[in-house]
């Protein structure tokens, strides 16, 4: 019986004080020695429960065994069977809610650092010389269009290209990656990794068309009709920001998290005036919400010079949605947490800029629809927190552009495209959907899983359409 060390092998990271001024990735990554040590903590369960916690079914036990044996190439091959974006997932997956939550060591010991090992393997592989992307064995005559270049779209594109389809990814913005590009900051997900994954897809023959706003620049009907695509995958994400609807929300320097992060990540406002897009960099920042995006925003505000950067959240630490590691890193960087605090009003100065947030303290009552305890305001507990910048990070709604411009595409009351969870099939034949546009705001890995399942379903759909087409004496297309 080998000795299993109780604690996860530590992840080397940048110094918490120094990194307050740095955009470099905070988690530096395991060395070979650390990866071997961590992989050897895995007890190699007969029935690996962790794998049930992975939305894309990565063969976790077996890849970790490969790592423990020093066979990193073998580990990488195993991961890539199921996950086409492992360097990204190894960084941004909420592992404590997924695979690591089910680790057999849990309860007695720290879980095995599955996310850290996945990242190690992916980074090891990135550093190896490439043999160039292997084009598909067999070319299919059909083309498939992917709408949106976030994690769902990239995964579907990869799978379909490897099946031999001509794949075009349409992106509304000027850069590829969706939320990986505009949403997640460099210090958590270096953009070079997204660039490499995009290059890998280009190597597989995937075409990318930026500045195409599907629904406006072209419609789904045109993609399926005159443009000759046999199927379309809609992965347009949950792009529409939620606001609080309280007084003062439209004061200057009150941002949605999407705006704040897009200015910084996509437009590089941190380098203004070298880059033309500005962003406000005041001394006191408040971020409302406590999910991954809120942690990103508060850490961005610190890097932009906030001396006091607060998270204001109406529930408690227990209900917080953020990944444990990012919460810890935000704390290390000096973020202040105002739990059980509910904003009621934004106060402005005489030039219309926000100067403070008026809040009520709350206590937790009975569980609500989400299963989390409902915050109940405490009468008379008003406090005023000063802030010259407010970021609202309360989540996002599905992007309405495609549903609004596509006849016969059914949506639910939240505006999500109704899609079969197993196949991504929508109410429109030939149109598949997955990721946040179908589920509402969720995670990168869930979107990838949906992209993968939809790619499989699109493959069967196109093959059976081809069969029907040839039975009817038609060559191709869906009419």
């Amino acid at each position: 019986m080998p000795i299993v060390y109780p604690a996860k092998t530590a992840m080397p990271q940048l110094d918490p004080v120094a990194r307050r001024a740095l955009w470099d990735e905070v988690a530096v990554g395991y060395t070979v020695e650390r990866a071997l040590a961590e992989a050897r903590r895995c007890v190699q369960c007969q029935d690996p429960l962790c794998e049930q916690g992975c939305p894309v079914g990565v063969p976790i036990r077996d890849f970790i065994r490969r790592v423990a044996l020093g066979d990193f190439a073998g580990a990488s091959d195993l991961i890539r069977l199921k996950n086409v974006l492992p360097a990204i997932c190894g960084r941004v997956c909420p592992v404590e809610h997924q695979c690591e939550r089910l680790c057999a060591t849990l309860g007695r010991l720290d879980p095995v650092g599955i996310g850290r090992l996945e990242r190690f393997v992916a980074d090891w592989e990135r550093a190896q010389p490439r043999d160039g992307g292997a084009p598909a064995v067999e070319r299919q005559p059909e083309k498939v269009a992917i709408v949106g270049s976030g994690p769902a779209g990239l995964t579907a594109a990869s799978d379909l290209a490897q099946l031999g389809y001509g794949v075009t990814v349409y992106e509304a913005l000027h850069a590829i990656g969706g939320v990986l590009r505009y949403g997640i900051p460099e210090f958590r997900l270096p953009k070079a990794i997204v660039d490499e994954d995009v290059e890998r897809l280009r190597g597989l023959g995937v075409d990318f068309e930026t500045n195409v706003v599907v629904g406006k620049t072209v419609t789904i009907d045109e993609l399926l009709g005159p443009l000759g695509y046999s199927a379309v995958f809609v992965g347009t994400g949950a792009g529409s920001p939620v606001f609080l609807g309280i007084p003062g929300e439209n004061l200057k320097c009150v941002y949605s998290a999407n705006e704040y992060l897009t200015r910084v990540n996509l437009m590089r406002a941190y380098s203004f005036p070298d880059y033309d897009t500005p962003v406000k960099r005041p001394a006191k920042a408040i971020v409302i919400g406590a999910g991954d995006t809120a942690m990103d925003a508060v850490r961005v505000s610190i890097r932009l010079g906030a001396e006091e950067a607060r998270i204001v959240y109406r529930r408690s630490e227990r209900e917080m949605g953020a990944r444990a590691e990012d919460y810890r890193r935000a704390s290390e960087e000096g973020a202040i947490f105002e739990w059980l605090t509910m904003p009621t009003r934004f106060l402005g100065d005489d030039e219309g800029r926000v100067r403070a947030v008026e809040c009520l303290r709350t206590e937790l009552g009975e569980p609500d629809e989400s299963g989390r305890r409902r915050p109940v305001p405490v009468p008379g507990s008003e406090i005023v927190l000063e802030a010259n910048l407010v970021v609202i990070a309360l989540g996002t709604n599905p992007n309405p552009l495609v549903p609004q411009t596509t006849a016969g595409l059914e949506t639910d009351r939240h505006g999500c495209v109704v899609a079969d969870p197993e196949t991504g099939a929508t109410s429109r034949p030939g149109v598949f959907a997955g990721g946040d546009i179908a589920t509402g705001a969720a995670t990168v890995i869930l979107a990838m899983g949906a992209g993968r399942r939809a790619a499989t379903a699109i493959h069967s759909y196109v093959q059976s359409s081809r069969q029907k087409g040839s039975d009817n004496g038609h060559g191709h297309g869906l009419g």
């Binding site: 930026t210 920001p241 500005p278 992007n399």
Partner: protein
Amino acid sequence: MATVLEKRELTPVTKLFVVDAPLVAEHAQPGQFVIMRLDPHGERVPISLTDFDPARGTVTLVVQQVGKTSGMICSLEEGDEVLDLAGPLGCAAPFPDDGHAVLVGGGFGAGAVYPLARELRRRGVRITSIVGARTAELVILRDLLEPASDEYLVCTDDGSVGYHGFTAALLGDELAKGAPYTVCYAVGPVAMMRAVAETTRPSGLKTFVSLDPIMLDGTGMCGACRVTVGGETKFACVDGPFFDAHEVAFDEAVVRSKMYVDEERLALELAEAT
């Protein structure tokens, strides 16, 4: 990439560009706009469509030089490439099928009312255009708009051509004389659109303005362009850009439009220094 096919100097600070953008031209509707970015360090800026020609695959844009980016756009020449051009964005303006529309274009806004005139005429609506500028030589696109209108009125702040005064004052005079307008559209600086809104408010003449708030993505993702209309928050990029002028909270729109004045000044100073 989109190529600049033609450039025309409308005034020393206002230029017209015809740009090769077939998909945008094919799908454009009057009242929509595009987002442009010129270089890898550039910002994304919204620009109203002045015209679009699906047959030629071109869009026409009028840009007035006010800051660094608009200055860079104005210095584009025929044959130059625009790095990013996305659109058409926003919704078409609301159009009636009969009646008498008055189109008010202030400064560079005279370009943006042209596609409205074209569409209204197609629908059989009678058109009066009111175009204003500081002085005679800054009146733009008369050659385009006058033939597209049943009546074309011009005014200048200094009286060097046409009516001596602002567009809203001329509109007010026409209304007082009993002009039988059934709908009004105003495009131009926010102060001018607000003045038009106040001019038509007493009579309740249905009035639409094209709001031009600060935008980032232009696809409804960021909310930078939020405006209050009828007490509700709207995103100008996806819900607009045309809104009922009598419902728009102009005070807020003016304040929000000045969010980055310091940064804009700095960027312009640095650009002019190089």
